[in-house]
């Protein structure tokens, strides 16, 4: 797998298998969503995470439910890795009342505060700042909770990146800034859009530690995130982690995926599929048995199929509730109204 195999800590078997489970759960869910999109079950945009699963999986493996994750327009994988049930994610994209945002959000607005999924955003940038604020809460409240934000290479050229990282650094906030550098913002190459082709070498400009990691190597991500989470919980401040990875499907489902990258490039990255690499690695090093993995594969398959059925059979939101939840004061009252409606 990656050439840093030697300096990989040894994990217990459960952990190895849980990582495999999470990787697969994201992949199969995304494949289901792609199918659902093609079938017209998804009404708005749908940005899949296929090819990047190792990042969310390797980072979230270190998080507790009371830690906070903030994400992007490409957020299904982060939500699943943080523990949002697949059925709630799929139901949300189906626009149903049983979705994690009760059908208000769709693909780009996944909220599940109960499990620490604090939201994805259709706007690039803001969640970098919100994670900084969660870090502020956690440190003001004297807890050891941590906040994590996942963002793309496209967000790096945005002022939110600059201001958020500086604020977290000067106040030593418990935040992980995880950049998923998949080399493109839609079709605009990061190498064109930024004067510096790397992100993980920018720590010195801000005064925080930063690293560049192979984002298709779940164990490399796991190791880097583990150290960053340790620092954050210990009150040692934020870390910037760049994960070099690749999106193997179109920017969003149904979108033309040509003219900006070569087939060779796509194939080369597919050959480094994070799940295939990891599966092979586990077998090669006898860290898990073929049956273990087949069992997981069957479980995940079942979970995702049931989730899709659940979504399919879920009710639509009641149009009479369209203006609920705007103001906190009115929320309960709005519910009333709805019942009487």
């Amino acid at each position: 797998m990656s050439n840093e195999d030697q300096n990989k800590e040894n994990l217990n078997k459960e952990t190895y298998l849980e990582l495999y489970h999470d990787l697969l759960l994201i992949r199969r869910s995304e494949e289901q969503l792609a199918k659902s999109y093609a079938a017209g079950m998804i009404h708005g945009a749908c940005h899949t995470y296929v090819g990047e699963e190792a990042v969310a999986t390797g980072v979230c493996a270190h998080l507790r439910q009371d830690d906070a994750v903030f994400s992007t327009h490409r957020g299904h994988g982060h939500a699943l890795a943080k523990g949002v049930p697949p059925r709630e994610v799929i139901a949300e994209l189906y626009g149903r009342e049983t979705g994690c945002s009760r059908g208000r959000g769709g693909s780009m607005h996944l909220f599940s505060p109960e499990v620490g999924m604090m939201g994805t955003s259709g706007i690039v940038g803001p969640t970098i700042l919100q994670a900084t604020g969660a870090g502020y809460s956690f440190s003001l409240l004297k807890t050891d909770r941590v906040a994590v934000v996942f963002f793309g290479d496209g967000a790096v050229n945005n002022g939110a990146f600059h201001e958020g990282i500086n604020l977290a650094t000067i106040w030593k906030l418990p935040v992980l800034f995880v950049c998923e550098n998949n080399m493109y913002a839609t079709e605009v190459p990061f190498a064109y859009a930024s004067g510096n082709p790397d992100v993980g070498n920018r720590g010195p400009a801000y005064g925080l530690p930063s690293v560049i990691v192979d984002g298709n190597d779940v164990l490399a991500v796991y190791a880097a995130a583990g150290e960053a989470v340790r620092r954050a919980r210990a009150g040692e401040g934020p870390t910037l982690i760049e994960c070099k990875t690749y999106r193997t499907r179109a920017h969003s489902e149904g979108m033309r995926d040509a003219g900006y990258r070569t087939q060779e490039e796509v194939d080369a990255w597919k050959a480094r599929d994070p799940i295939d690499l990891y599966r092979a690695y586990l077998l090669e090093h006898n860290l898990a048995a073929e049956d273990d993995m087949q069992e997981i594969e069957a479980d995940v398959q079942a979970i995702v199929e049931h989730a899709a059925e659940f979504a399919q059979n879920s009710p639509w939101p009641d149009p009479a509730t369209a203006t609920n939840y705007i103001y906190s004061e009115n929320n309960s009252q709005d519910h009333e109204e709805v019942q009487h409606a």
Binding site: G44, G95, R96, S101, G105, M108, H109, A193, W316, P317
Partner: protein, 325 residues
């Protein structure tokens, strides 16, 4: 006359202006080789190259501020926001700089900055991709705000915007940009501040904005079958606003309804109502009414989304209510 889409019409105006004036350039995400998420610049990159069709990083504030400085120094920038929602990150540049620099420089600097973006609710785009926000720009002095509603107007108004030395917001509703309509081959301009009387009538006046024009016309067709004749006015620009045409119509009909997809509070309908009340009070046979989208963020789920926007039926009902007053 040949029929082309709203977006093809604006592209024609853009292409001929860029061919004539080398100081015009466009910035935005995906407006280069890709030709724009909404095909705003399709085919132009091949003609005018990367310096004039400039793909940008996701730096809305940055490139709006950059284009502000460019407009101060001899070029004519066009910012293509794709979805207008993204303009909000550049509000400081727009309200504190763009709208004020001509004034603060006592007119010795001009601000030929054209800002375009797609607006509107539809297609389950959810709350970060369905903003309208034009009342904000009508509130702030210094802007021209254009809401084209058909291919013919789109070409002529865009040509005018391309010639303006003032900052112009050209706001294209997602549900309209691929509608076809008759458009002359030759170049022409449509002045800002001249409303279009889209349909003549005498029972009541309906001022409809952006995507509401077609829906209103559909409602009026239905009412016409009952012999109810409604006058429909499309202001086309809300800053400047052609209040005279509206007042003249109300003088004739005595009744006014304003239909707008976006929020009522401090909106364009409120402004029109206030002006007509102040200047046309004696012409009014009934209270001025407004029909707006609900005052809420835009939900994703189709049944919720449909519930917050005026449609043919709710417009028809609002007109009937107005006539019953």
């Amino acid at each position: 006359m040949r029929e082309i889409t709203f977006m093809e019409a604006t592209r024609e105006a853009l292409d001929s202006a860029m061919a004539k004036d080398p100081s015009i350039f466009v910035v935005g995400e995906g407006i280069g080789a890709r030709g724009g998420n909404f095909t705003t610049t399709l085919g132009l990159y091949e003609k005018y190259g990367p310096e004039r069709l400039r793909d940008t990083p996701i730096s809305e504030r940055g490139f709006v501020g950059m284009c502000t400085g460019a407009a101060m120094t001899g070029t004519r920038p066009i910012v293509d926001f794709m979805f207008l929602d993204f303009i909000l990150d550049a509000m400081g540049e727009l309200i504190n700089q763009v709208s004020k620099i001509q004034y603060m420089s006592s007119g010795r600097l001009k601000m030929p900055l054209l800002l375009r973006g797609c607006i509107g609710i539809g297609g389950a785009a959810a709350t970060h991709h369905s903003g309208n926000y034009y009342p904000i720009f009508a509130h702030i002095p210094g802007f021209r705000v254009v809401l084209p509603t058909n291919a013919y107007d789109a070409k002529g108004l865009f040509a005018t915007a391309l010639q303006s030395d003032d900052p112009v917001l050209f706001l294209e509703h997602k549900n309209l940009i691929f509608n076809k309509g008759p458009v002359p081959d030759e170049e022409y301009t449509i002045p800002f501040g001249k409303a279009r009387i889209t349909r003549e009538g005498d029972a009541a006046t309906v001022v409809a904005l952006s995507s509401m024009v077609d829906k209103t016309l559909a409602a009026c067709d239905k009412l016409a079958k009952e012999g109810i004749s409604i006058e429909v006015i499309d202001p086309r620009t809300i800053a400047p606003l052609d209040i005279d045409t509206i007042l003249a119509s109300v003088h004739k009909t005595g009744r006014l309804l304003i239909v707008d997809e976006t929020f009522a509070p401090c909106g364009v309908g409120a402004e029109i109502s206030a002006q007509v009340t102040a200047q046309g009070f004696d012409d009014l046979d009934a209270p001025i009414m407004r029909l707006n989208g609900l005052h809420t963020p835009t939900p994703y789920s189709p049944p919720l989304e449909a519930a917050i926007v005026p449609n043919k039926e709710s417009i028809e009902q609002a007109i009937r209510d107005l006539l019953a007053e």
